[in-house]
Symmetry: D2
Subunit: 423 residues, 4 copies
């Protein structure tokens, strides 16, 4: 076991050094696929496990190509590079015991954030020499998740005789911004799954603690809006312009004015607005980054639909065009006791202080799409949280996890695989 | 002539005592028609000279019926009452000399304003006992115009041998709010007219002065807007409402934000806004009174079309319905020298200090529709101003004209009829 | 007891026939005071029990005087009429047993609503001939409350030997709009109170049921806003105006855009907006009726303070003045188990199906000011709900209660007085 | 003369190749100063002729330093480099004849625009190899102006015996954005000037034509606005943010809604708006680039003051701070016939088709500050336009002048110097 612990740390630090943004996890995914193949898993990667039309907020072709070069130069595994070269970086690795039993799926995510990692001496990744080599950063723990996924794969391969049925390991791209899950769901990767477990590290749960079913997810939609008008000289021919900025400004205020809903918590935010290109020119373009949330998917849908109506009306007012693009989405979800309770018991056996369920409001997650799909077809799903000591909060430039949690996570998940396939 | 002067004063004071709002001039028009008939004119009245579908901002049937009773009780001429009972109160009185010659038209207006006339001792109509008997008031001089029209008719009848061709006297309803002219134009009353002269008293021109062609009219549109939403309890079910007030508020601000136009002067105003019926209820209705203006008809059209786009967009933003009703309209116009110059000479002969033309920006007028129609068919049209001493500005509760101007006006106009039909 | 039941119905129907709006309950309060005096209570009425400066949203002097005449003509008791003639219509009636014991207070409210009562045949008040004689209506059950207050007084007077300590009956004006309670609190009427019980009929609790402690009150502020600008001719001198409507429109939208609060439910509504006096005149005045609510008083304060900031900013934007007047206020409150539990037991003994506590979100109530004051000085307070069958919802023109509830309420309250003064 | 023509072209092309933005004309001004010194003028440069505190919209110290290096590397004249190293690049070159006579001033401007010059084959500067070496461009003809200034200096030096009094040549930085003139005026450079002539090439006047007094300048103010709020997590703690974007959006709409002015043409534009830094973060900063214009300085002041009031009100509404910085300003001006008429005669003598005066609305210009100062002290000032064939409009990437105009301009200006100092 000592060896696995070392490997977990080694993997995690390697991923930490080479962070990759969503739909660009080319180095990460090819290395992961190689290792999984080495362990004996059947590998599906790229378009086979991702629906292209359901990828939300995918980077441009130019960015994708540029990063491809970077990945190649930074140690990606050539074998799988072709298959992920267009940014379809998801992996499903299957272990079929050949024996009857349920199908289990474990999901981890692989993407990093556009955050510049701290250069302070006290920051452990700097001191221990695994600070990011580029301007991105694993500031949410997905490096740990990927490492745990590989650890779990290792234990499965080494202890396959304890298992029955089938185990699928899902390595998801682009969780940040809630963009990648839906494309794997639509590709059908959980269509045969009876039990589904997604894992996250940290998010407020202390070291040596565990939550088997985290339920407080807000449904969310991320929307990019572009207003397109016509520019003209503001002094000379103001009437010839179609002012995209005026439309955008009306949208911003009225989006904030979407009525509260008596059914529960709702949120809306326009986080960015950029319009215009010169002081004396009528602005012909304005772009907005918008986000809605709701305590339930219904509440989020209310917010999103009202928002669209505001955006279209604002465009109509000033006779400009508008494009509304959904670039991220998460739904609300509740874990199934049928999988949360066994998982809770496994955590306790691993020596963690576990609770079955927590309903505290949390952020948004697109693992909820997997959960929803599995539950709708009669299966059971949960989202568990593995406690850890954090050096700083999620999405902070000094974020760091306690690596002791890695093995705890792997053991708990492996125990759950044994338990769920032997009942 | 002394007798005519007395009659002019008598008529004017009678109309002043019994003011009637636009499309409700039932007492006025029936008395006018009776007098014109007595003088030997051929009378057309009501629907014959007005297109029902082009009457803008017509009072409701209830108001119309109620006023009909008032008119009957206050001395209307029974003979014509049926024909004006639905509020179509326009008159065209024709004098055909039987001799070859051009067709001339003189237009006056008859309606009063919803202004409560002054009760101060110094106010001449009070002192001389012809103050309004109701809550309306002739505060713009249309009582004088109607009187001048009758005076002109008298001189025509008494001096018919000096004239040739045909003379049409047009008594128009509902000039205030720019509502009545278009319906007479569309009924074709100036289709055969070669020379057209509209007359206004006052508006800044001093006693014994005359302007033969007043050109500074602003084109204008008067628009009533109604937003229709759905009410709901603002505390209990805010999401069930469709907030008409929010739409209206957005419309108000964005109407003010219609871009300036490099082609010339534009104006826009929302003069009234009423929305909602209770503090804790989402407002399900909001009504706006809007007005656009432009130095030219094109500029006003720009304003009006942009305004409609704002109104529809505001409704769309908050998912409410909207109704846009045109309740008044005037266009811009320029007098024809071919009629302005002879008219100018006649004014000078009458002893007035006259100028051919004035381009100072003035208010709006729907006589411009007559002018435009006549000019478009190859005729000549002008709008002249008869100077007078005013006791107070137009639309003021102490407004009063100097009655000495009445005969001056009649003589000038009669001279122009002689001149124009003898060239 | 049969007699009391008859009396309760008689009182209630009399109050129902003669509804009076808040701070105008002159007929009601003088009749109540007379009856209480007859029963032997010590009466305090008017300014003695109301702080003039804390009366919110009081009608104008003209309205007050006019209603005074109405009250006199409709059977008000002359004896007390002087004391309530300025609209200070609150009463505190005290029964001092002379024996040691706690001080109890029971509060009922007396005002009606500006709703025109149904004239349908099926409406019981019409059929039984106690429909409102004017255009107001008891559509919230305060007629029943006042009747219950008199019934409780009757039982106290007739069974005084069962009681100890002191009993205060508070008849509050102007509960609608949350306007009257604070002025009685500030006059000190509950400064000596150990136990406080407010009562409401209906609001969702079915016949023969009872809630001893209703807790879901939203804190609320009712605000009237007046923007004062300068009018000018919109065509002629737009720059000379100061547009109050523009300020108001900005306020409306931005009030709706006050950010949601993570601490719990908030609400805001502008229910009425009236601005401007003529289509072509820059609006020099605009008035708004605004309401904020919050799950707690802190949340309501957040909304109210943000709202004030929006209003002042909107005025500043367009250089107009603004006046903000608080015309109603309620806070959030939680009942004390120390009084709710005994009350619950008394309800059960009366034969009602009772529950100690309900936390369902309800409307707003200014009885919360009494509760807060009593609790802050170490006493115990609760707000109980007496179930009844309703013919239609509160504030509906067909609202009607089942009169069988009246005696149930009186008995429960009397039992609580016995219990609380004998512990 | 042939030689001078060649020199004019050479100078112009050299300046065209090395364009420099406002307050960064280090290469240009040092070369100009060297040449003027060589010709025998007395040179004042830098802080001596510019008031530091009145420089509007000056680039940052970093930009200034960086450009200084560029200038050094691209052929700036070392002698004057120190004096302009901080971006005070204005020059006043004086020729004192020693004989009695008036003081004349000729002003040209030197700065370029942030426009990327066309790379199309048909573009003459490309074909003739003087296309810009950097990303800036002389797309408004200031390269021609500077060349004309040097040509005029040459003729003055070579024909000094024809002149009397004193001639001052003013080379102004940062005319684009209307930023540089005021600082030279405040430094007193025209305090002793009797006749002032500013020159522009093109702007609609055709080749071989000349306008001696161009009057249609709009007064203008350029304003940068920064709203400063507080960021917070839009999902987690929306109430802790202070939303700068909401303030900015309100400002944008209400700036567009500043009422039209009956006194003449006004304009307002928000050309750029940038706010926020992340989709789920309350925006803590928003910046706006605003511009007002007016047919007169009074009208522009009306717009600017109303705009400030809108900006402050918008900040107040959402409780954010705001900074308003004036970064450019021009006033309206009318040329003096006392200098325009002699200049007109000189143009005709040069063979140009000249008109004394043109009142067509044009853009804005800060030469108006010089004109205003000279006229206020009793002198005479004009702004003349030298016609030329343009390859494309001003501020277009294909802008180019016909170099034949250069000598025409120089000769006309020199003739005016002779004429005005010999009267």
């Amino acid at each position: 076991m000592n060896t696995l612990e070392n490997k977990l740390v080694e993997w995690r630090r390697d991923f930490h050094r080479y962070p990759e943004l969503g739909f660009l996890e080319m180095r990460t995914s090819t290395l992961v696929a190689s290792e999984l193949e080495r362990l004996g898993f059947v590998i599906q990667i790229g378009r086979e496990v991702m629906s292209a039309e359901h990828c939300l907020g995918k980077p441009s072709e130019t960015e994708t190509k540029a990063h491809m070069e970077w990945a190649r130069e930074n140690g990606a595994a050539e074998k799988y590079l072709d298959e992920v070269s267009e940014g379809y970086t998801g992996i499903v690795a299957t272990w079929d015991t050949g024996r009857p039993g349920p199908t289990l799926a474990y999901r981890v995510d692989m993407d990093a954030l556009p955050i510049y990692e701290s250069t302070e001496e006290s920051h452990v990744p700097l001191r221990k020499d695994f600070r990011s080599v580029n301007t991105e950063m694993h500031a949410c723990g997905h490096d740990a998740h990927t490492s745990i996924g590989l650890g779990l794969a290792t234990m499965i391969a080494e202890n396959a005789e304890q298992l029955n049925g089938k185990i699928k390991l899902i390595f998801q791209p682009a969780e940040e911004g809630a963009r990648g899950a839906i494309s794997m769901v639509r590709a059908g990767v959980v269509d045969d799954v009876d039990y589904f477990i997604a894992t996250h590290i940290g998010i407020g749960v202390p070291q040596n603690h565990f939550v088997a079913s985290n339920n407080g997810f807000l449904a969310t939609s991320k929307i990019d809006v572009t207003f397109k008008g016509i520019s003209s000289h503001a002094g000379g021919k103001p009437e010839e312009g179609k002012n995209a900025m005026l439309a955008a400004a009306n949208a911003v205020i009225n989006l904030s004015a979407v009525p509260r809903h008596s059914g529960g918590m709702t949120r809306i935010n326009v986080g960015e607005l950029h319009a215009g290109s010169g002081r004396n020119v009528i602005a012909d373009e304005a772009v907005l980054k918008v986000e809605t949330r709701g305590e339930t998917s219904e509440l989020n849908t209310y917010m999103k639909e009202y928002a669209e109506s505001v955006i279209r009306g604002a465009a109509q007012m000033h006779q400009v065009g508008c494009g509304i693009e959904l670039v991220g989405e998460g739904i609300s979800a509740k874990g199934s006791p049928e999988v949360a309770e066994p998982l809770h018991e496994c955590a306790e056996k691993t020596g963690l202080t576990s609770q079955v369920q927590s309903d505290e409001a949390a952020g948004s997650e697109d693992a909820t799409f997997f959960m929803d799909a599995v539950q709708k077809q009669g299966g059971y799903a949960t989202y568990c949280v593995l406690g850890t000591d954090l050096a700083a909060g999620h999405h902070n430039e000094k974020f760091d996890v306690n690596e002791k949690s890695l093995l705890q996570g792997v053991e708990t998940l492996f125990k759950s695989a044994v338990k769920l396939t032997n009942e």
